[in-house]
Symmetry: C2
């Protein structure tokens, strides 16, 4: 372990800042011994705004006693030039990579923000928003007749992560994800619930550690039978027996984020990411 040093990190963009953040966070995750204070400054699209940002970078660097780290995806060159003159350590994502891409594509980049059609006219975007509304409509076993349209139906006992996962799949990837909670009645029958039988090929099961499930349920209904460890163990064991008997694929959500769960399920099933 090194000494704990604090550094200020700026993710700067003339757009939403999401790409600069994603890249900055991935890179900095490789330095667990350093403490980072992260700031995202989106929509920095004029020289004047960039000058104010450059001042903030300089004063953070002075305060920390170390230059601030800057991840920037500013497309306008004259705006980016202002940031480049600051005292920060600049990771200039677009200049680093655009030139080699221009060479291989034998084409000049448009170097402009907002040149393309509005996001809301993009078919992939429209599909994503439809998928979000679908996930809400088909959440928690609602509107079973909508399952024809589902790309995937997530199943699992209560609080295994079905709802956030189906919403993430919709929002990020435009995937139509329904979800169905396995009830005690379903467990006693030891069969696939009748509503799901004709959609067996679309089912994907979520499971979780009994201890973690119990903790999550306690937050919702403290000291209930529903949250007790025995109840959680019983439900999970019976559910697993159904999944294994009917060869339904299963993912353990105990230590995985919705990003990981979603991308692993899509990779396993071959369902396409439809975000662009």
């Amino acid at each position: 372990m090194g000494l704990l040093v604090k550094r200020t990190v700026f993710c700067i963009s003339d757009g939403t800042g999401l790409t600069a953040e994603a890249l900055g966070h991935s890179l900095l995750a490789q330095f667990p011994d350093t403490e980072f204070e992260r700031l995202t400054l989106p929509y920095i699209d004029t020289i004047e705004k960039a000058e104010q940002v450059a001042e903030r970078i300089n004063s953070a660097s002075e305060r920390d006693g170390h230059p601030a780290l800057v991840f920037d995806t500013i497309i306008k060159q004259e705006v980016r030039a202002v940031i480049a003159k600051s005292n920060g350590i600049i990771t200039d994502i677009f200049s680093t990579f655009l030139q080699p891409l221009e060479e291989t594509l034998e084409s000049h980049s448009s170097y402009s923000v907002g040149r393309s059609q509005p996001a809301t006219d993009n078919p992939a975007y429209i599909n994503r928003i439809e998928a979000v509304h679908y996930a809400l409509d088909a959440d928690d076993g609602a509107k079973l007749h909508h399952y024809d349209r589902a790309d995937i139906i997530l199943i699992g006992v209560s609080r295994t992560g079905k709802t956030p996962t189906s919403l993430y799949m919709a929002m990020q990837f435009g995937v139509f994800a329904a979800n169905y909670p396995i009830t005690e009645e379903d467990l006693e029958s030891n069969k696939i619930p009748p509503a799901l039988q004709q959609y067996r090929h679309k089912l994907y099961a979520l499971t979780i550690d009994a201890e973690r499930l119990s903790a999550i349920r306690h937050e919702r209904k403290a000291n209930s039978r529903y949250a007790s460890i025995t109840q959680c163990e019983d439900e999970l064991r019976q559910a697993k027996s159904i999944y294994s008997r009917f060869k339904i694929p299963v993912i353990d959500t105990s230590s995985q984020s919705v990003e990981e769960i979603s991308t692993r399920i899509l990779a396993a099933t071959g369902i396409e990411r439809r975000h662009q």
Copy 2:
């Protein structure tokens, strides 16, 4: 406009692939005259898997008559080395930027995947999932007594984009976003709805073009009074009069994605992104 050339793009990662995708898509958006076929290959974490990917890169390059473009965020060096030997044009995000960061941080990167604690133990992650459940609970004017906990309350007439925006704010940024639909009754009163009056400082209004609103509503209820252009114009005009009278900030969602709407609102209000 150049000639339309098709190129295959691989976003490759030993994790979810989300960072490689975000960066790849941002960079390629600068080349609107080229058609790209995009593939994301996540969880490429062994030499064997990388060898299969390298073969796919080589055959796509041969088929296209141009080398494929590769955006890679593989951390394991021995796996990345296999990809580097393929015929693709490699944009190697981590090698390009990690070494300069190691120098400035005077620290070696851990160069490992999954080294950190499970995502699900991370307080920022737990908060994000809580925020998603909150957004669902406080959707569409439900459970008004929860507004104390809201960071922001999105208001607007029906189908202005409140629900997807509040879910995106929750999922991406861990922001507690409630939403409240402005009803015809509210519009007639020409006041802030009673349930919202004590939360006036948390309100942010969404508006939209009447034509676009009408089109969206027609998809939901074709040829209804609800979807008619006159009805949409009336509702939007009356709503705007309330917003302006009570100085509620307004954003026009007509041509902006949920990513843009969310990041612009957070930037305008100063509400912090809490994703890390």
